[in-house]
Each structure stands twice: as C-alpha cells, then as structure tokens.
C-alpha cells in the first residue's frame, strides 16, 4: 500500500517540484562545473576551418543580427568568433541590422577585445546599426560607405585607416552572419549566391535544421546552431566561454527530464493504470487515431 501510494502520489506530483528540480539542475552545474566533454560536429568544424583558412591580417565582414530575447544562444557565438578572429590577427568589420543589437555587440566587443588585447579602429571596426535589412545587405555589395558613412562611435569611415581599401563584399575573403531570423536567408541569397562570397552562418538551435540544405549546396561553408554549436566552436578555438559553461547545465536538465518521464511511466505501470490520475491531461494519443 505504502509503495503503491508513493507511485500514485508521483503521478499527481505538484509541478512546482519539477520546477525546483529544473532550477537546481541549471544553477548547480553553473556554480560547480564538471566540464563534460564536447565533441565538435562536422558542420561546426567546417565553420572553424573556414576562419582558420583566411590569411592572417585579412578583413572579415561580420553581421551580428539579434536582439536581447535570443542573445542566450547567439551572444556566446559572437564572443567566440570575435576572439578566434583576434587570435588569428584577422580584422573584423562588424555591423548589425537590428535596432536593439548595438548594445549587445558593444558588450561582446568589450569582452573579446579586452581578452585578446585588441584596439578599436586598429584591429576592428564597428559600423553600428542600419535599418532596412534586405536593402542594406544588397547595398553592401556596392558600397559600405554609402550605407555606413560613420562608425558606431561617430568616426567618419574615411578617417579609419583599416577601412581604406574596404568597400564591398568583394574586398572581404569571408562573410560571417550570426542571425536569429530571416536575415540569414538574405545573406544566403545575396552575399553567397549573387556575390559568390564564402559565407558562414550561426543561428538558433531551432533554426539550424532549416539550413542544412545550404551546406550540401555549398552556399554555406559552415553552420553553428544554438548553444551546443557555440560550445563546440569554443572547444575548437580553445576557449572556455558561456556556451561551454552552459553545456553541463544542459546535460543536467535533459537528464532530469528523461528521469522524470521514466519515473512517470513506471508509476503508470505500477499503479496498473491506464486510468488517468487527476490533473493528467490527455497525452499525445488521446486524439482521434
């Protein structure tokens, strides 16, 4: 009876206990990391290799298009890519097509440039935000100057020596887009397809599968999806950032959910029951078959 009662009670478990478990599974690994290994997938490896293959000292065009709501997935990518570029002595030219983007990018740049000891206007240029997403991406094929006459801090582009010979996609050996929206499609259509530029994409985990076809067609050279993609990249670049820190918590939360589901099903079996407990709603199968 006691045992059966326990399982029965588990079936009706107040969901707030689940919330507590999820909360702990997130916070504890962040405070006490064990650093589970991260194995890079071929797509992220290809992303990394593409950055590695750019000759030292070359400029790289970096479009970072996201806002605070999804920064959890994309900000770690930005920091990792920037730091990797800095280490290889590449010169990133950065822009954003989202009005709430500059604040985030400023922070990412501060972290990356401080860590690698790089200076603005010498080692990188931040052009800031420009509205009109698709038309800006088109405009970058012709003239960066007409799109961004000044950089983010108000310095005229022509006063920045690094920008002297840079004015269009043609002047960059590589374009990188980290995006949480359809902006990625525009870069694929315009920068990669029309201007035949090598293009790398970082996006949210949910978006990633939609872009696999562009890898096989060669329009994308590499693809990094979500926090896991960012963690793989950090691992390749020998960095230890927010994504890798987060992966322990990811594993923990996933394990907690899997164990809960298994326990729920054991309880269902033990209590003999296809009878529904109170509070249990119809599962996937209650629909008309």
């Amino acid at each position: 009876m006691a045992d059966g009662g326990l399982w029965r009670r588990l079936l009706r478990l107040d969901r707030r206990w689940i919330f507590v478990l999820v909360g702990l599974a997130t916070a504890v690994p962040l405070l006490f990391p064990v650093n589970l290994p991260v194995t890079p997938t071929p797509r992220v490896q290809a992303f990394y290799d593409a950055v590695e293959s750019v000759p030292e000292g070359s400029p790289v065009l970096l479009s970072l298009d996201y806002e605070p709501d999804i920064m959890a997935e994309l900000q770690p990518m930005s920091i990792a890519v920037l730091r990797h570029c800095f280490r290889r002595n590449l010169k990133p030219v950065i822009l954003t097509l989202y009005p709430a983007g500059p604040g985030l990018i400023e922070r990412a740049l501060a972290i990356a440039s401080e860590a690698e000891g790089k200076k603005r206007d010498v080692d990188f240029v931040f052009l800031g935000y420009k509205s009109g997403s698709q038309s800006v991406i088109l405009g970058l094929g012709e003239s960066i100057r007409s799109m961004f006459p000044e950089d983010f801090w108000g310095t005229p582009i022509d006063d920045i020596p690094l920008m002297a010979n840079l004015n269009a996609y043609a002047d960059f050996p590589l374009v990188i887009n980290l995006s949480g929206s359809a902006i990625a499609d525009y870069y694929i259509r315009i920068a990669a397809t029309r201007y035949h530029k090598p293009l790398l994409l970082g996006c949210t985990a949910v978006m990633a599968t939609d872009y696999y076809p562009y890898l096989s067609s060669g329009q994308l050279l590499g693809l990094m999806g979500g926090m896991k993609g960012a963690a793989e990249y950090e691992r390749l670049a020998g960095l230890f950032g927010d994504a890798r820190r987060g992966m322990d918590a990811q594993s923990m939360v996933h394990v907690v959910i899997v164990i809960l589901v298994i326990l729920g099903n054991v309880a269902l079996l033990t209590t003999g029951g296809l009878r529904r407990g109170p509070g249990a709603s119809s599962g996937g199968g209650s629909r008309e078959p």
Binding site: R16, F19, V22, T26, A27, L30, L31, I70, M71, A72, E73, Q75, I79, P99, I111, S131, T204, A205, V206, T209, G226, M227, K228, G241, D242, R245, G246, A249, Q250, V253, H254, I257, G284, G285, R287, P289
Partner: protein, 205 residues
C-alpha cells in the same frame, strides 16, 4: 554585487517573473502590468518613428499627396472610437484584408506547395539512401491520407491514415525533444545574468 541601477532593475524584474513559478502574486502582477504598458508604448513609439514619420509625415511635408490615401483609411479606422462613425472602419479593414489575402495566395502556393512538391519529386538517393527516400514518400502519402476530409477513415484509407498519425507523432516527439535545448539555453542565460552580472558569484565571460 553590481553597482549599476539598471542591473538592479533588470535583476528585480527577473525575480518578479520567476516568482510566477510558485504562483500568481503581487510581484508578478506588477511585472505583468509594467510589461504590457512598456511594450505597447515602445511599439507605438517605434511605429511613429519608423513608419509614420518616413512614409507619411515627411512625404506629405514635401508636397507628395499620395500618403493622403492611407491617412484617410487610418482616420476611418479611428472612427471606431465613436459609435456613429464606426462603420467607416469597414473600408480600411477591407483594404487591409484584401492586400494580405492577395499576397498570401501566390506566396503560400509557391513557398508551401510548390517548394515542397519540387523537393518531393527529386530523384531518390542512391544505394541505402533509397530506403530513406522510400520512407519519406510513405510518410508523406500517409500524412496526406490522414488529412483527407471527404472520406471516412475506413479500410485502406483508414489504415494509411493510422500510419500517417504515427509519422506525425514521431515528428512531434522529435520537435519537442529538439526544442528542450533551446529553451534551457534561455534559462541558463537568465541564471548566469543573476549569478554573475548581479550577484557576482560566477567568473566573468
């Protein structure tokens, strides 16, 4: 601990929202009402600055009279503020609905139907891949059978519809499991914000 006012505001609002997990309470209610007002106000300000000013006010100022058409429609819409004038808004609605239905017809035809058909009629993968191609074909046909409305789910049609729902369930399970990580990422970022940016108990990035 952070010394920035903004960080404190951010942290307290974050905690207000988290408190919802326990139950509805005055802190959550405060955050909820603040959020609705702030979001509605922000949207209004953005629309004014990014749509009305460049597309209506400035052109009218330059003597371009075309924006008078949407201005008239917009005023008709505002007619709803009073009972007497509210039927004028039907014209503005009719215009708006017409535009988006008109765009939708070819757009859905192209992006949903033809794009998928073009993909489905591609030659099969060679070798073992052909098994996958065959499975995709079976899944596609049985799911279509499930959605077929003009016949009851009986006999062969019923059997295919049943297989169709199995494919749907596998797809739903995959989508569900795949999404967990994205959601957990967002939670991790919030916890990192609280522990690091606000409390300062985690090492910096």
């Amino acid at each position: 601990m952070s010394h920035s006012v903004d960080t404190w505001i951010m942290a307290l609002l974050t905690l207000c929202v988290f408190s919802f997990l326990y139950r509805d309470n005055p802190f959550y209610r405060f955050a909820e009402h603040l959020f609705v007002g702030a979001a509605a106000g922000y949207l209004l300000a953005v629309q004014y600055q990014n749509v009305l000013v460049p597309n209506m006010i400035r052109p009218l100022g330059r003597g371009n009279l075309l924006p008078l058409v949407p201005l008239a429609l917009g005023i008709m819409l505002l007619g709803r503020l009073a009972e007497k004038t509210s039927s004028a808004s039907r014209w503005a609605l009719a215009f708006y609905v017409g535009i988006y239905s008109g765009i939708a017809v070819p757009a859905y035809m192209q992006a949903q139907i033809f794009a998928q058909l073009a993909d489905a009629t591609k030659p099969w993968q060679p070798g073992w891949g052909a098994i996958n191609s065959a499975l995709i074909l079976i899944g596609f046909l049985t799911v279509l059978a499930y959605f077929f409305f003009s016949a009851p789910h009986r006999g062969l049609h019923g059997a295919s519809a049943r297989v169709g729902i199995w494919f749907l369930m596998v797809a739903f399970g995959a989508s569900f499991g795949y999404t967990v990580m994205a959601r957990v990422s967002l939670l991790i970022a919030r916890v990192q914000f609280l522990l690091r940016d606000w409390l300062g108990v985690l090492p910096g990035a």
